[in-house]
């Protein structure tokens, strides 16, 4: 490839094919521009000079202020010429020069004259130039003309004014907003482009007025939209209205869905795609709604146009994240895209297939990917590695071929980010799939033999120290670790010493030999390596003078810090060197939740695209850690389930509180996440008083107040209840926030000494049966059902009374039970009189439960339901019946 930044003219010497701009030089062109001042203008020559100036500007050349001013003044002289071609160039040149405010005045009168000219094209261009260079004051002077131009019968003039309006809305919104009536009229224009531009402008003017946007959409979806571009805009605005209304009407249909669906049959591909995309992005989209959209996207997959293939596979890739089953029909078409010459398309196809593939197709897929990996860039490879990781977690039985694949690509060339993604994936697989551990560790050992990244080597050594000693033959890892002490830089050597020590501490049979190796490290050239070796030798060989027992040694080497690292970092930064040593016990143990700013954002920017904002995948882990770090709750055993946060205050109140219900076998802990939104207040000793008089089975056993709640720094307070073990006790709790409030001086940020006790009423909270059930899907319901003991099955029939529709009845039972609908059976086809819904879940006590619901509705809308439950424990089957009977 040639030097991309070299100007075109520098590398040409072919006489026959020389460039018209050969040897062009800014200074010379500026000299030439003097022809603009000639009394007898040569229009052709002037046009040529302007072309040269444009060429310079278009190559990123800049003019100094003086040069630009000089050219600008000269160009304004050209308004005298009557040559049309030249005039068109002049308009462009003025825009390119974007003169400063004090210079603009020179051309305003000429442009104003053109704006009132009888020649339409002068008007259109003058509008565009004026709007480009104008400021607010001038705009008010020409506003009248612009309003007229918007409804001008010449479409070019109208479009010029409308597009100018779109730009001016950014700088002078209050003026442009006054043009609504004219813009509204232009929306009805017969000229396709005028309608497109008018629609865009009108929507921008009214975007904050929901009702107006809704009206606009309602009227246009019924009327005629002439250009495909405008139709695309309308589809986008329609999905916005759907998102914001989010109520499904009485027949169970979504408003405007029919419009979107009809756009799937439009003749322009752009419109079809836009509609399909809008449908896939509907929140809570059902399979029935998705099907037609997926069908057209599937057709696009085999289009001859790369852009269409790309758009389709990109959209399907997104759908696969939330509705993998809906996309499986397209798998065959997508497999053929793996060999697509456009690598972006191929990567998207592969990652989609990895999301939607089933267990039997894994091997075939991996074979295809292997060939593909060698010719894509690292950033695509990372995407593939991440997709393979999730696939492996989904089908743990396939770990062998997936782990092999990862180890193979680990050996190939690649940058840091790519290698890190592979190592992270292997580490995760080792952690989550016990069978994969030994082979995974060996792959990592081989990798550090030839790893150029210090960060990855140390990370792997640390991981080996944790996992290696627990394997059947820990000795086989020692060679790889000790090699590092010989061959690597000081950082890696120090890590290797620590890892060796861990093996020594945990595997008694290796201890004497590890000591020999560690003693050799005492002669290392690096301080840190020697220090570590000395420390470990003294603690592990200890004669009792440094540490007392073996347990203490292990605790010292392996014990975690028991404080979140982020908190430790903050405390260390705040520590000022003094006589008093740093006390690790002073570090707060609470995990900070998201700050206020982030929390507010989703409310405002809720786009509704894709899945609702769910917590990070490790939320449950984080909760588990947090709760077990609190001594009062550490004896409660394993955390079974944590609910999503339930808001206990309205939005935008003084104190924002939500609660997470943590369910244990015989306890329930309420975690109140509190945020103080008043800068002038500091809250101390924050607790929640819970009245459990309407929850008879619950007895309060502990509560953990929050010491201080400063402005905009969320904190947590907890209340724990005991309940009968294994029983899904339900009840209603009323909550009162109690605290001591202290005034804060906003200038210094210091709080008053004295505070006042105060209370704040929160909403009530309920613990319901669904809180005791985890949503756990099964991949094949029929197999799962048949593999369960038929004797555990309990069947009964229930009358659900009159209902709006079957859908409503089905949804009510699903949310009552809190179980996972399987195989898309939560969707009731239109107008059907009966329906079967399949649910799966895990009941508290880790008991697997499957439910088969059969519904029927009669002409009076009375719904009857047959409920069949199978579970590992027959008492749980009855418990499910009790939930339904009492619900």
């Amino acid at each position: 490839m040639a030097q991309p930044l070299v100007k075109k003219d520098d590398d040409r010497d072919d006489e026959a094919d020389y460039s018209p701009f050969l040897g062009i030089e800014k200074g010379a062109v500026l000299q030439e521009a003097r022809v603009f001042n000639d009394p007898q203008l040569d229009a052709r020559r002037c046009s040529q000079v302007i072309t040269k100036l444009l060429y310079l500007l278009n190559q990123g050349e800049t003019f100094t202020k003086v040069e630009a001013t000089e050219v600008f003044f000269a160009v304004t002289k050209l308004f005298q010429s009557r040559d049309i071609g030249l005039r068109r160039m002049v308009y462009l040149m003025i825009k390119e020069l974007s003169p400063s405010a004090d210079e603009v005045i020179i051309v305003t009168s000429s442009l104003m004259k053109d704006m009132n000219s009888k020649t339409d094209m002068y008007r259109a261009n003058a509008i565009r130039v004026l709007c480009r260079i104008t400021d607010g004051t001038l705009l008010t002077q020409i506003e009248r003309y612009l309003k007229q131009a918007i409804v001008d019968k010449n479409p070019v003039v109208a479009s010029a004014a409308l597009v100018s309006g779109i730009h001016l809305l950014q700088t002078n919104p209050e003026i442009v907003k006054r043009w609504s009536n004219e813009v509204q009229e232009a929306v009805q224009s017969r000229a396709a482009l005028v309608q497109f531009h008018a629609l865009a402008l009108l929507h921008q003017i009214r975007q904050n007025d929901r009702l107006a946007v809704s009206k606009l959409v309602t009227s246009l979806t019924r009327g005629t939209v002439r250009s495909p571009l405008a139709q695309c805009l309308l589809i986008r605005y329609t999905s916005q209205v759907i998102r914001e209304s989010s109520n499904i009407n009485q027949t169970g249909d979504r408003p405007f869905y029919d419009y979107l669906e009809s756009c799937l049959r439009h003749k322009a591909e752009m419109v079809i795609f836009e509609a399909a995309k809008a449908i896939t992005e509907l929140s809570g989209v059902t399979n029935r709604e998705l099907t037609p959209a997926i069908t057209v996207l599937q057709l696009f997959l085999s289009s001859s146009k790369p852009v269409l293939r790309f758009a389709a596979v990109r959209t399907l890739n997104k759908v696969a994240m939330t509705h993998p089953m809906a996309v499986t029909n397209c798998n065959i078409d997508m497999e053929s895209l793996i060999s697509d010459p456009n690598r972006s398309i191929a990567t998207l196809a592969i990652t989609t297939l990895l999301k939607t593939g089933n267990e039997s197709s894994v091997d075939r897929l991996m074979k295809q990917i292997t060939n593909f990996m060698s010719d894509i860039a690292d950033e695509f490879k990372i995407v593939v590695v991440e997709a393979i990781r999730s696939l492996c977690l989904k089908f743990p039985l396939k770990y062998r071929s997936l782990m092999n694949f990862l180890s193979n690509i680990l050996r190939e060339e690649g940058g840091f980010e790519y290698k890190k993604a592979i190592v992270d994936s292997i580490v995760i697989l080792i952690r989550d799939i016990p069978d994969a551990k030994e082979s995974g560790l060996l792959h990592l050992c081989e990798f550090i033999e030839d790893c150029e990244f210090t960060y990855l080597s140390t990370q792997i050594l640390h991981f080996l120290g944790i996992e290696g000693p627990k394997t059947s033959d820990p000795s086989k890892y020692i060679r790889y670790i000790y090699n590092r002490v010989h061959l690597e830089n000081a950082t890696v050597r120090a890590s290797a010493v620590s890892t060796l020590a861990k093996f020594g501490a945990l595997v008694d049979s290796l201890k004497p030999r590890i000591f020999i190796l560690l003693r050799r490290c005492l002669f290392d050239s690096d301080d840190e390596v020697r220090d570590r070796a000395t420390l470990y030798l003294n603690t592990l060989e200890g004669d009792g003078s440094i540490v007392e027992t073996d347990e203490e040694v292990k605790d010292f080497l392996f014990g975690s810090l028991e404080v979140p690292l982020a908190n430790l970092e903050t405390s260390l930064k705040n520590y000022e060197p003094s006589e008093e040593p740093f006390d690790i016990n002073s570090v707060p143990k609470e995990i900070k939740s998201q700050p206020l700013a982030e929390k507010k954002a989703p409310g405002k920017k809720q786009t509704g695209l894709g899945a609702p904002p769910s917590g990070p995948p490790s939320t449950v882990d984080a909760y588990d850690k947090l709760l077990s770090s609190i001594p009062e709750f550490s004896s409660f055993g394993n955390l079974f389930k944590s609910s999503p946060p339930v808001e206990l205050t309205e939005a935008e109140t003084e104190y924002a509180v939500n609660v997470v219900k943590h369910i244990f076998d015989s306890h329930v802990v309420f975690q109140y996440n509190c945020t103080n939104t008043i800068p002038e207040q500091l809250l101390e000793n924050v607790t929640v008083l819970v009245d459990a008089s309407e929850a008879e089975d619950f007895t309060e056993v502990a509560s953990k107040p929050l010491r201080a709640l400063p402005y905009d720094t969320p904190g947590q307070t907890f209340v724990a209840f005991e309940k009968p073990e294994g029983v899904s006790a339900v009840g209603k709790f009323s909550n009162m926030l109690r605290f001591i409030v202290k005034e804060v001086d906003p200038s210094t940020g210091e709080a008053d000494e004295d505070g006042v006790e105060d209370e704040y009423q929160l909403e009530d909270l309920e613990v319901v049966a669904a809180d005791y059930v985890l949503k756990v899907p099964v991949s094949n319901f029929r197999n799962a059902w048949e593999s369960m003991d038929p004797d555990s099955e309990q069947v009964d029939e229930y009358g659900l009374g009159p209902r709006e529709s079957l859908t409503e009845a089905v949804n009510a039972v699903i949310s009552l039970l809190g179980m996972q609908p399987c195989e898309g059976s939560e969707v009731v086809p239109n107008n059907s009189r009966s329906h079967t819904c399949l649910l799966s879940g895990v009941y508290i006590g880790n008991v697997k439960v499957l439910v088969r619901l059969s519904f029927g509705i009669d002409s009076t809308k009375e719904v009857a339901m047959k409920l069949a439950v199978r579970s590992d424990d027959i008492s749980i089957s009855s418990a499910i019946h009790d939930i339904v009977a009492s619900g």
């Binding site: 030097q3 018209p20 825009k95 070019v156």
Partner: protein, 147 residues
């Protein structure tokens, strides 16, 4: 927003670059990125066959026309399909001005005209005109024929 329209010759030298809403310090980066993208992928591609890429939320549609490669970069409402519409307008206007897929020389000979076409097609990041016949008339300051 259409963030950039860029023309380069077959050796990767810039012929035209127009940015909208891209800070000056990022332009150099975009220029080299696009030229490299073209060098990696455009070899052997037929005239007007569209290639597509995306980087985070930014889309790029590009193609070759004669000796010239054309890149269009957009975001938000200018996704890959909208950009393919934009690039279609650009290629047809260029062909119209040059009479055929241009050699580099022909492109430079018609440079002024092509600049005017681009001015009619993209107005500070928004698509303004879409029909080549109309554009041909507009750059001569003649009203559109359907009017």
């Amino acid at each position: 927003m259409i963030l950039a329209v860029l023309f380069a010759n077959s050796e990767g030298n810039i012929l035209v670059e127009r940015f909208n809403g891209v800070p000056a310090e990022e332009r150099l980066h975009w220029r080299s990125f696009l030229v490299k993208l073209g060098a990696d992928n455009l070899k052997g591609v037929k005239n007007e066959e569209l290639l597509v890429a995306c980087h985070k939320s930014v889309y790029i549609v590009y193609t070759v026309l004669g000796d010239v490669s054309i890149f269009v970069v957009g975001k938000d409402e200018y996704d890959e399909l909208a950009l393919s519409e934009v690039i279609f307008v650009i290629t047809s206007a260029v062909k119209d001005v040059c009479g055929k897929p241009p050699t580099e020389r022909l492109f430079l000979d018609k440079y002024g005209r092509i600049c005017l076409c681009l001015d009619e097609i993209v107005w500070k990041g928004y698509l303004e005109n879409t029909e080549k016949d109309r554009i041909r008339r507009l750059i001569r300051l003649k009203p559109p024929s359907e009017f």
